[in-house]
């Protein structure tokens, strides 16, 4: 348990293994990040404190300004290690404030590094309202012409209300290890029973919520390796192709979602979706790396045209 002699930790490559702060440092241009309302301000959760629970100086989310490929962006990064990245009053308000700042300052975009189980149950009601405020602020920023991009590759995935927030974004990049949904496996098992979803069945959980299935469905726009540089490139690519919040665009999305329901509505398992979508050799798909997977499923994928 000692540090290497005077050295620096080996260069961080894995997005999943990095902390929220390291992720920001790896995604944004080196040295460009300036935190807003940082840990020195000590704006911590009064609700956790009143329950006698540990607080974090940033309440589990880092927000601030930086650059991506030279362009000014705003960015937020949720720390899954603290309370599962869950949204409480302060955490949520920091995200709302960042999105409002985007609407005022019109940067090239907003990056949301999502890693969250959803609403923080220890401050449940405030968390739910905060998620609602995030959704309004996010859509308002988009309507003002600021693209918002989501990145999902942390250990907690993106669930609950934050799963809806993710799909309010212009674009989403996921790693295979990233997971996205609304009702997580534990929640479904606890509510509907193990026959509905066995949360201990890892293969089932990954093929239901994981990046590959979400990419094949067209829920994620890009699938990348679990690598900070890959997520950085994906963020830049997605910022360059915003999805306008207008009637034509939403009508097309509506058609796409209606077609998905018509095509796959009878599927109770992602494996059946892959079969029906005529993905080649569906049983091999979980084994492929991101590049090979992307090439293999290209004809079967149901993304935007």
């Amino acid at each position: 348990m000692t540090l290497p002699d005077g050295g620096h930790p080996p260069a961080q490559k894995s997005y999943r293994e990095a902390t929220a702060r390291r992720r920001l440092a790896g995604i944004l241009d080196p040295g460009s990040f300036t935190e807003l309302l940082g840990p020195s301000e000590r704006v911590t959760s009064p609700h956790l404190a009143s329950l006698g629970l540990s607080v974090a100086f940033d309440d589990g989310v880092v927000v601030g300004e930086g650059r991506l490929g030279g362009s000014a962006v705003l960015a937020a990064s949720q720390e899954g290690g603290f309370m599962g990245g869950a949204v409480g009053e302060v955490h949520g308000a920091k995200l709302v404030g960042l999105l409002r700042r985007a609407e005022r300052e019109r940067p090239a975009g907003v990056l949301l590094l999502l890693d969250s189980g959803g609403v923080r149950l220890q401050e449940a009601n405030a968390g739910l309202v905060a998620v609602s405020e995030i959704m309004r602020a996010l859509l308002s920023a988009r309507a003002a012409g600021v693209p918002v991009v989501g990145l999902i590759g942390g250990g907690w995935g993106c669930f609950g209300g934050m799963g809806i927030v993710a799909r309010c974004c212009d674009g989403l990049a996921m790693s295979e290890e990233g997971r996205l949904g609304i009702s997580g496996p534990d929640v479904i098992e606890a509510t509907k029973g193990v026959e509905e979803l066995d949360a201990a069945d890892r293969a089932l959980v990954w093929r239901t919520y994981g990046g590959k299935h979400r990419y094949l469905l067209g829920e994620a726009d890009l699938i990348v390796e679990d690598d900070l540089a890959a997520f950085r490139a994906a963020a830049a690519e997605l910022l360059a192709r915003p999805r306008p919040l207008d009637l034509d665009s939403l009508a097309r999305e509506h058609e796409r979602l209606a077609r998905r329901l018509a095509d796959f509505g009878g599927c109770g398992d992602a494996a059946e979706v892959w079969q029906l979508a005529a993905a080649p050799e569906p049983e091999r798909l979980p084994l492929l790396d991101a590049d090979a997977f992307r090439r293999t499923v290209a004809p079967a994928r149901r993304g935007e045209p």
């Binding site: 009053e89 300052e105 149950l121």
Partner: protein, 239 residues
């Protein structure tokens, strides 16, 4: 249509309505003292799954196309998102995100959005529609919640008695309308006649999302408004 929904519609729209209910999804139009409105939402505690989310989004888009600018009254009575493996396989969160985006589009195109909560208002059922409204009102029976205190005690491993005690002073824990009013998320329950309250709500000017400020004024959320303002940089604009 359940008697409860029929009674609610009768009280909100005594001048007449053509509102249908199917599988817990409410759609239609109605007449109010403030003009004609579109009506949509959930009833009977319906859980919102992929079909319902898509149908509601389709209805919002239809109103935007066929009745530009017509106010939309959103009825809320939902126990949340449908929790099935199939809904997750199909990407329910994506359908709900799409619904929220359609509601935002309606707002941008001048449709006033007034929500009326008459029963349960939970999580994924209320986030993409009811809680997207410009004003969120309640009638008798409104019961917004996230989690019951016994379930919260299990999940957080905190003693139930402690949570019950804290709930008396804190608005963030206990289920129910009072807490959400103090948080600034909902307005106190309307007294009859509901049709007059609705007409007044439809006539009030709309503005930006002020729920955090209301939460501060009502003492339920002391930090949210200030934190959002500091991060947004709005404070720096003030003289």
């Amino acid at each position: 249509m359940t008697p409860a929904l029929g009674a609610l519609l009768g009280a909100l729209f005594p001048a007449g309505h053509a509102v249908r209910e199917e599988d817990g999804i409410v759609r239609g139009a109605a007449r109010t003292a403030a003009g004609d409105v579109a009506v949509l939402g959930s009833a009977g505690g319906a859980e919102v799954g992929v079909e319902a989310a898509l149908a509601l989004a389709g209805e919002v888009l239809r109103v935007v196309r066929e009745h530009p600018g017509r106010p939309i009254v959103v009825l809320v009575d939902t126990r949340g998102q449908r929790m099935t493996r199939r809904d997750e396989v199909l990407g329910l969160n994506g359908y709900l995100g799409h619904l929220a985006a359609c509601v935002e589009l309606a707002r941008r195109r001048g449709h006033r959005l007034v929500a009326v909560v008459s029963g349960d208002a939970v999580s994924g059922g209320v986030l993409p529609l009811g809680f997207m409204a410009d004003a969120i009102h309640a009638v008798e029976g409104a019961h917004p919640w996230v989690m019951s205190l016994p379930a919260m005690a299990r999940v957080t491993k905190l003693p139930l008695e402690r949570l019950e005690e804290l709930s008396r002073s804190s608005a963030v824990l206990a289920p129910g309308l009072d807490g959400f009013v103090r948080l600034g998320a909902l307005e106190p329950a309307w007294e009859p006649p509901l049709s007059e309250r609705l007409a007044a709500a439809l006539s009030r000017p709309v503005g930006p999302d002020r729920r955090a400020e209301l939460g501060l004024e009502r003492g339920g959320r002391l930090l949210a408004a200030a934190v959002a303002r500091r991060v947004s940089g709005e404070d720096a604009d003030e003289p």
